[in-house]
């Protein structure tokens, strides 16, 4: 037997030209048809000094097998810590059917449904999605998504400024207890158009916005009032009163909602006397995996009268030449590819695939499935909080009713406690110090329906230990 030189041969799933199906013969005949000698000739119009050198910092290609091995390693490196954190992204159960169907090639690898006749699958699905969002929020119309929760708030703000007929103001009232990342991103996104976001402070006992705080702004002109339900602290706002206050003051009401919570909480369209004008929020709790923060999608619903000010794609039902029902993108005159610099928004590509997943998710769960997930999350968090509060050194920060997140006040440095709990493989909560220094050592905790009693007990004993050792 000859000695073995090396094990260097690479196992390539495909070949030396992954994803490119050309044979030598074909290349020659194609070049001949064009009338050039080599592929490089096709780039002859490019000034020579612009031709790139070798891309030395990019490694050579890997086979699919090697790539899978690499990513298995990278994934393993991060472990699978127990997640007791929400703060805008929630670890809900997604039925296996959802992504198995969503990633069928026909949904997964289609483009935006511009050619309606060849896209009835996606178009009908979006129509169904719009229908689901409107019933969930009790709003009149929905679009086909914007990027995420933060972008939905920003777009809602821009929309409110355009749409409010009673006010020409470019000022928007924004509570300090909305998701601080939403507030930050909104600021970035509306800033260029000279829109001013005015803070409303929350009540120190309840963590909520109370009417007294609003009264300070009476008589001033605002295009809209934003309110988040549940708010970032997980607490429930008195949405009826705030909505009525906004309307009484000629402002539109922008509801930022958790769509899963909408299955059990009063929907935005029913807030106060007249309902919210715009409902937005993040669709993640409806079937999107946590996935490090995205892709999720931004919800955008509004009252019928405002539909022409709505950004994003909208699907309508119509008839074909034979009078048969079918679906098309409609009201495209609002969009950038038609309206260009006067469009309602610059958003073009949205979050279609996640919307697909969400639509299937909602179909499989139905209202009862969503309600059960919401209720069980609520109960799990209550159970967690009760057990936490039975410990020395931890208590509830606010006295308000909450959905599935709660702020816990610790008697030890929050950062150190959270760090200590990572030793038990637990992500124990979101540290509020950076965004709300006034709260002291405060963490935001969440236990979705996926957290078992055993895991909750594990959390509580790890916390007990951390509190005693830190």
């Amino acid at each position: 037997m000859t000695p073995l030189s090396s094990v260097a041969l690479l196992f390539k799933v495909s070949d030396d030209m992954p994803f490119i199906p050309h044979t030598e013969n074909e290349i020659s005949s194609m070049l001949e048809s064009i009338g050039v000698k080599q592929i490089d000739d096709l780039f002859s119009e490019v000034p020579a000094e612009l031709r790139a050198a070798e891309l030395l910092k990019i490694p050579t290609g890997l086979s699919e097998m090697q790539m899978t091995q690499l990513m298995t390693e990278r994934g393993a490196q991060d472990g699978r810590p127990l997640c007791f954190i929400g703060a805008g992204a929630y670890d809900h159960y997604v039925p296996a059917a959802v992504w198995q169907i969503t990633t069928r090639g026909e949904f997964y690898t289609a483009y935006t449904p511009y050619q309606a006749e060849a896209s009835q699958g996606t178009l009908q699905l979006i129509y169904e999605f719009q229908s689901m969002m409107t019933t969930l929020t009790a709003m009149d119309v929905s679009n086909a998504s914007v990027y995420d929760g933060a972008s939905s708030v920003a777009e809602a703000v821009l929309m409110a400024v355009r749409a409010n007929r009673k006010s020409k103001s470019k000022r928007i009232l924004v509570p300090r207890n909305i998701n601080p990342s939403y507030a930050a991103a909104t600021h970035t996104l509306v800033n260029g158009q000279n829109i001013e976001l005015v803070d409303i402070d929350y009540d120190k006992d309840s963590g909520c916005i109370n009417l007294d705080a609003l009264k300070a702004f009476e008589g001033e002109d605002f295009a809209a009032v934003v309110i988040q339900q549940p708010n970032f602290f997980g607490s429930l706002e008195d949405v009826d009163a705030i909505t009525d206050w906004a309307h009484a003051n000629n402002a539109l009401l922008i509801a930022v909602v958790n769509p899963l919570a909408m299955s059990i909480l009063k929907p935005a369209g029913e807030w106060g006397e007249a309902g919210a004008d715009i409902a937005c929020g993040d669709g993640q709790p409806l079937g999107a995996p946590l996935s490090s923060g995205g892709p999720y999608y931004g919800i955008m619903c509004c009252k019928k009268a405002l539909v022409r000010q709505m950004p994003g794609r909208i699907v309508g039902r119509t008839l074909d030449e034979d009078g048969k029902e079918g679906f098309v993108l409609t009201l495209q005159a609002r969009e950038q590819h038609i309206r260009r610099s006067k469009a309602t928004s610059n958003i073009c590509t949205n979050q279609g695939l996640v919307v697909t997943a969400s639509t299937i998710h909602m179909s499989i769960l139905g209202a009862a499935g969503l309600e059960n997930a919401a209720i069980q999350s609520h109960l799990n968090t209550r159970s967690l909080v009760e057990k936490i509060c039975a410990l020395d050194g931890a208590e509830r920060m606010f006295d308000s009713a909450s959905f599935h997140e709660t702020v816990i006040k610790l008697n030890k440095p929050a950062r150190a406690v959270l760090d200590a709990m990572t030793e038990s493989n637990i992500i124990a909560g979101f540290d509020l110090a950076e965004d709300y220094p006034e709260l002291g050592n405060a963490i935001l905790v969440c236990a979705t329906e996926q957290r078992t009693e055993k895991e909750i007990d594990l959390y509580v004993s790890a916390l007990a230990q951390a509190l005693s050792e830190v």
Binding site: F19, L55, G61, A118, A184, G316, S341, Q351
Partner: protein, 482 residues
Amino acid sequence: MLIFEHSKSALHKTNKTELNSIPAAMRRRQSAALPEVSELQAVRHYTRLSTRNFSIDTHFYPLGSCTMKYNPRVANSIALAPEFAGRHPLAPEKFSQGFMSCMYELQEMLCEVTGMKGFSLAPMAGAQGEFAGIAMIRAFHDANGDHQRREILVPDAAHGTNPATATMCGYTVKEIPTLADGDVDITALEAAIGPQTAGLMLTNPSTLGVFERQIQKIAKMIHAAGGLLYYDGANLNAILGKIRPGDMGFDVIHSNLHKTFATPHGGGGPGSGAIGVSARLIPFMPIAGVIKENESFRWANKSDYPKSIGRLSAFFGNPGVLIRAYVYMRLLGREGMTRVSEFSTLNANYMMAEMKKAGFEAAIPDRFASHEFIITLKKQAKDLHVTAMDFAKRLLDLGYHAPTTYFPLLVPECLLIEPTETESKEDLDGFIKAMVQIQHEAENDSELVTSAPHTMPVKRLDEVRAARQLDLSWTVTEAGKV
């Protein structure tokens, strides 16, 4: 049939008594009217619905400006593996080194292949990349006290997101005409530049499917006037690994990872519009990014980007898309990247050559195409009353997705055809044959073409009715009707 029409009430039940800690006034009175169906009904409904779509996995889809290339299946399974799909965005860095190393390397590879000095993965699509880029340009001028720069220049061939974005950033937009050969009208540009110029947005190769030959001169003109150059990277596939936007003089660029880097379009998204910047714009980069320090990875903070334009999303853009793009880039590697531009360009030029031979009129006949090219059917429209739209619809019958129609706006009756590098000669030839057949039909039986499609689930749809008699959701009233 809508999923709601399979629905029946009282199929599922909930116990709401456990909600008693929430005041009744805050609770929902009546359950949402979501469909109530069994899992089989849902699976069957959406499985069947999916088959009413064309897609890359089922059809050749030469949609110009969209780069409909093969989306490797392995990228999907990795992105959806529990280790990546299950990671919370706010997980401590300790639990995130594997993920962050991928993101860091993605940033680095994007820098290398585009010639930029810093990259942010935060933007969630091309348009948000544009927003971030133009916002940085504005922040840059503002930081220099250059407040008079209120105008962004945009060629008329540009995608609609360019002007829309400029507006969103508070700029006014000035359009620059394009010459017949596809290059920017330099004289007009010259005239348009002034102290009010904040910058120019340019796609190169342009949406006309040709490379802007004067790019170095344009860059000099803009820079000399104190403006910055923005690169719309939608067409990066055409030059990947061969020509780098940074070397052309661009100050800030976005790359549509869902185009060039093969993440799926998903029927409309999600995408990623990662942005690269030259050194002077690094301080303005958006939050968040991954920094490597002492062989480990941490999230960038305000001290890394002291003049940051801020946050663009709640978390970190679309990491599920970024993971897919990362996988794709590592599979291709250095050599593979260059092959992308070579073979997408070969495919486009081959198709253009063959279609010209078959009698079709190329919009810019005397130049090489980039990775896409334009056919104008204005003769057919005039002589035969068969429009680009008619050709597009008839193509569907023949098993091909239509190219992009009526974009760019300046070419009448145009089809913008982008085959991408992952399609085989066999499929290109099939498409050309179909076009020749339609031309023949247009000449001999134009009704067949103008009334197409005939084999799709629906015929042409009444768009006017859709916009006038808005029917945007199924309503409970209708359920009553059923």
